[in-house]
């Protein structure tokens, strides 16, 4: 029965306008509704499918400010059993290396974990590096960009989808898997799941609790930081083709000019 850890992140809702703070170019968390990242919902779903088939336990691990509790509750209401929430003002502005280090320490708090499931890339930062760095820090195999996950005893088989094609990966547990968009369709939390979530244990930890020095994390100590940011230029008006009997070929000409056909 696998002991599964799922990494989840609270991100600004992709339906709302997302901004960086003007002062230090970190995420402006107040400008948009905060939600559990959709790719993490898929990660939770995959963990729950494994649990439903094979038993075991699902622990959610999240690094984020206090209000990330909402994202954690969502994962719990979907059916995860318990959670670890690392929340510390010192973490503000941390980069992927620092975040992965904190996550590795937090995953270490989950006794006897077999499998860590993460989304392949958060919809806000879009670095897509945390699962791989985490696997390195934990010293376990990384099976990233999975579109299919199979677990047979302690053998993990994954189909990785990339632009080059499909790669079939296999590793022994413990391991880190990151999942892509095609992995599954996440469930909606049921009303009973929502009601049960409140009673599930959430352990809240600071970086000190993880044995990490606050001086190692946060924007001031990050290896990378955003220097400049500008909003995307607005989309320009399209080109209108009036059909005077040659509409079809004009559209085709346009597509050829754009190298689309």
């Amino acid at each position: 029965m696998p002991n599964i850890v799922v990494l989840v992140k609270q991100v600004p809702d992709t339906y709302s306008e997302r901004k960086l703070a003007e002062s230090d170019h970190t995420l402006d968390r107040d400008s948009a509704d905060a939600v559990l990242d959709e790719i993490n919902e898929r990660a939770v779903e995959e963990a729950l499918l494994l649990k439903e088939a094979q038993g075991g336990e699902v622990t959610v691990v999240s690094v984020g400010p206090d209000r990330a509790t909402d994202a954690i509750r969502k994962a719990l209401s979907m059916g995860a059993d318990k959670a670890v929430h690392v929340s510390d003002e010192a973490l503000r502005g941390s980069d992927v290396l620092q975040t992965a280090k904190v996550l590795a320490a937090a995953v270490g708090k989950v006794e006897g974990y077999d499998l860590v499931i993460a989304g392949n890339e958060a919809s806000d930062g879009q670095a897509g590096a945390v699962p791989a760095i985490l696997a390195e820090l934990l010293g376990v195999p990384q099976l990233t960009h999975a579109r299919k996950v199979e677990l047979d005893g302690t053998t993990l088989k994954v189909e990785r989808e990339s632009e080059e094609g499909i790669t079939r990966l296999e590793a022994s547990l413990p391991a880190v898997v990151s999942v892509g968009e095609k992995i599954n369709e996440p469930r909606y939390p049921s009303f009973k799941g929502i009601m049960a979530a409140k009673k599930k244990p959430v352990e809240t930890l600071t970086v000190a609790d993880l044995g990490i020095d606050a001086g190692e994390v946060g924007l001031g100590n990050a290896w990378t930081s955003v220097l400049e940011a500008a909003p995307k230029p607005p989309r320009t008006a399209g080109q209108r083709v009036t059909d005077e009997g040659d509409g079809g070929s004009k559209v085709a000409e346009y597509l050829v000019a754009q190298k689309l056909i």
């Binding site: 909606y188 009303f191 409140k198």
Partner: protein, 387 residues
């Protein structure tokens, strides 16, 4: 006094809204055009327990209250795909059976309400009685152990989708020497012999249709009578307050949907230098609509909270006021949204034109604006009765 909803209620709202967003107004439009129903959405919401949030846990429900059910109703509506039958099936019928049904009726019906697999319509309005419940003529006569029920009903929603209809009728009052009639509620299966229904063509784009019912000596077993013979008035009060709360929530959801559309349009549509939302002529009516919707919502939440706390009398006044306020706010929000869109407000692509008629329902049903004003005039203000 607490003016924020519980974390669970907020989580429920966001889960339901997300489900609704998957279907959206486009789904409803498609269903209306193809003559389809809302089964996919209804079934999915049912499986997730959203339609049975208020059914007691011992029957497989969520163990929540009308406040939870109203939240579900509002969020689906706000996502553009409100389920009209939520106002009757889980809100009126399920509540009445849970509160006043016999043990056997609870065991028979509540598990289906909990999962959304059972749908029950509700028939009270009659062609010649209108809003006057005292003039209801649908009557049941004793027939051996059972009943023979006859009468007509009008504007009954979703009968073609329902397993049964809860019919408000009358029976002879055994305690009255003059042979007076007293109200009684019956559960009538839609396939019962002598029960027929006919669709009323409506100028409202909804997958859920309205029907005329004809009951012609429908033979019913003794246990078709809901609960005990003398409890019908209590049963009606138990069911009609949730109906008003749900109608209010449905209307508020519709208003939110229209307002969201309008705000989005006002932020992006640019004709001169600034988006049109920068002009006060556009912005102020939207802000005004927002205020009205919020006020109606607070009153609806109050009504639900009173009802769930067991204060039926207090809930009655609040539920009526909430329904009134929600209807007016919803109609205003739709109107403002259409105006904000200019010509696009009536273009099919924007999906607002059909809401003009749809939002107007809430001023008429389940109880008209005028009857609510009568209620408030008499009950809240103590003014003399005119009828």
């Amino acid at each position: 006094m607490v003016f924020s909803e519980s974390d669970e209620r907020i989580a429920l709202r966001s889960a339901v809204f997300e489900l609704g967003r998957k279907y959206g107004h486009e789904y409803m439009r498609r269903q209306v055009r193809s003559g389809g129903k809302t089964n996919e959405l209804w079934d999915e919401a049912g499986k997730l327990g959203y339609l049975g949030v208020n059914v007691p846990e011992e029957f497989g429900g969520g163990g929540g209250g009308i406040g939870d059910l109203a939240a579900v109703c509002e969020e689906l509506s706000a996502a553009g795909c409100g389920l009209l039958l939520m106002v009757v099936s889980p809100a009126i019928c399920s509540t009445i059976i849970a509160r006043y049904g016999t043990g056997e009726q609870k065991r028979q019906w509540l598990p289906g309400f909990a999962q959304g697999t059972t749908r029950m319509a509700f028939g009270i309005t009659e062609p010649d009685a209108g809003s006057n419940a005292h003039k209801i003529t649908t009557t049941a006569r004793r027939d051996g152990d059972g009943w023979l029920l006859s009468g007509r009903k009008v504007f009954i929603s979703g009968v073609d989708e329902a397993d049964a209809v809860m019919i408000v009728g009358r029976i002879r009052d055994e305690h009255s020497r003059e042979g007076r009639l007293k109200p009684a509620l019956f559960i009538v299966p839609t396939n019962a012999e002598g029960f027929t229904y006919q669709e009323i063509e409506m100028d409202i784009a909804s997958p859920d249709k309205q029907f005329l019912l004809f009951l012609d000596d429908v033979s019913l077993p003794a246990d078709a009578l809901v609960g005990s013979e003398d409890a019908a008035l209590l049963q009606l009060f138990a069911g009609l307050n949730p109906e008003r709360i749900m109608a209010a929530s449905f209307a508020i959801g519709t208003g939110r949907y229209a307002l969201d559309k309008a705000v989005e349009y006002a932020k992006t549509r640019t004709v001169w230098k600034e988006p049109i939302g920068a002009h006060q002529g556009i912005a102020h009516p939207l802000a005004d609509a927002k205020i009205s919707l919020e006020l109606a919502k607070v009153m609806t939440q109050k009504a639900a909270a009173l009802y769930d706390a067991g204060d039926d009398m207090g809930a009655g006044e609040a539920a009526n006021m909430a329904k009134y306020a929600a209807a007016e706010a919803s109609i205003k929000a739709v109107d403002v949204a259409v105006q904000t869109h200019g010509g696009n407000g009536l273009a099919s692509e924007y999906g607002l034109g059909s809401l003009i008629a749809a939002s107007r329902i809430s001023r008429i049903a389940p109880v008209s604006r005028e009857m609510i004003l009568n209620f408030v005039a008499q009950n809240s203000l103590g003014l003399p009765k005119s009828y």
